[in-house]
């Protein structure tokens, strides 16, 4: 696997999985505004995943759908931060804040890449992420003095640079759910 494919798959796997996790709030977020925000952010993250999978797929001679849904769980390279199934709002917002911070550093590095396709995609993603960052900023400010939020940040921070080579039990469950359509109907398209 080339270095370029490795970078693209880490980015795409992170965005696909965080998008899937964020979408778990659709319909049950604490306010209507956040229901809309999380659904929209999730949709966008999955759009970023798709674009990155497509670049990787062109190099590997496969398709974005096959990379997203036809790999075995151990082949994914996402960060453990995005794999966690978080059921409370303080942790969910803490993950959004930590994820945006880490993703920003990665996207900024890619914008400076010599590879024109990578740099162009990174610039596009960066512009869209500006809205996700504003959302995280708004919540970080609102919850700044809330002990549960500070505790969630401290608890989740070590996961940011966690081991990408092994999968958590929570990821296995997510993988089952995420790939169920393709496994029951190989090659399914939407």
């Amino acid at each position: 696997m080339s270095e370029r494919v490795r970078i693209l798959l880490e980015l795409a796997d992170d965005d696909l999985v965080v998008g899937w996790r964020d979408s778990e709030w659709t319909g049950i977020a604490p306010t209507l505004e956040e229901d809309v925000a999380f659904s929209s952010i999730a949709q966008n993250e999955i759009g970023h995943a798709r674009a990155a999978y497509e670049l990787a797929a062109a190099e590997l001679g496969t398709t974005a759908d096959e990379l997203a849904f036809d790999r075995a769980p151990e082949e994914y390279r996402c960060s453990p931060l995005v794999e966690l199934r978080l059921l409370d709002w303080a942790h969910t917002i803490a993950r959004r804040c930590l994820y945006e911070e880490a993703d920003r550093a990665r996207i900024e590095a890619l914008m400076a890449s010599d590879d024109p396709e990578l740099a162009s995609l990174a610039r596009k993603i960066d512009r869209e992420e500006a809205y996700h960052r504003m959302h995280a900023e708004l919540w970080a400010e609102r919850l700044r003095d809330e002990p549960r939020f500070q505790q969630a940040l401290a608890e989740l921070r070590p996961y940011v640079d966690g081991d990408r080579s092994s999968r958590t039990a929570e990821f296995r469950q997510l993988w089952d759910e995420m790939t169920s359509v393709r496994r029951s109907e190989p090659g399914a398209e939407w």
């Binding site: 929209s40 995609l121 869209e128 500006a130 504003m134």
Partner: protein, 161 residues
């Protein structure tokens, strides 16, 4: 054989699937048209990468080219070609008339929260600038929700990208 100009005119008749008052050409997502014999190549640039209407747009472009007797090759360009500044002046007017505030022009730096919160974007219904940001996110990735304090009407604003 169809000319590139005829293709542009025909594509200008395709309504955006989510905001049908504006055409795909006015939205600025049709980047390039190239005609070689029967083959008509079109480059489509998504507004947001997560735009769920992208496949519908691609199919609409293909169907239109087929109706002109061409053989369509639609390529989706996912780089940073599209910005909200690509919406044409006519397109912006149509958005406003349909109750969507058009995007503010793109600055050199990314939009910031304080700007969006302070931005006195005009209400597309009554023209008042007494409006506030209600939610950064809206029904599709490209829209935010604002509220007009003067006519008490919530409205959508196309995001600056």
């Amino acid at each position: 054989m169809v000319s590139a100009g005829e293709v542009w005119t025909a594509l200008g008749e395709i309504a955006d699937p989510e905001i049908p008052v504006i055409s795909l050409v006015e939205l600025g997502v049709v980047r390039d048209v190239d005609v070689e014999g029967d083959r008509v190549s079109v480059t489509l640039t998504p507004t947001f990468l997560g735009c769920p209407a992208l496949d519908a747009m691609r199919r609409a472009l293909e169907a239109k080219i087929v109706s002109l007797g061409g053989e369509p090759v639609v390529t989706v360009e996912r780089g940073d070609a599209w910005t909200s500044d690509r919406i044409t002046p006519a397109g912006r007017e149509k958005l406003r008339a349909a109750g969507f505030a058009p995007p503010a022009p793109r600055d050199t730096s990314a939009p910031r929260l304080v700007q969006l919160q302070a931005n006195r974007c005009r209400c597309p219904y009554c023209g008042s600038s007494e409006t506030r940001l209600e939610n950064l996110f809206g029904p599709t990735p490209c829209r935010s929700i604002r509220y007009c304090e003067s006519c008490r009407q919530p409205f959508e604003q196309f995001k600056t990208l």
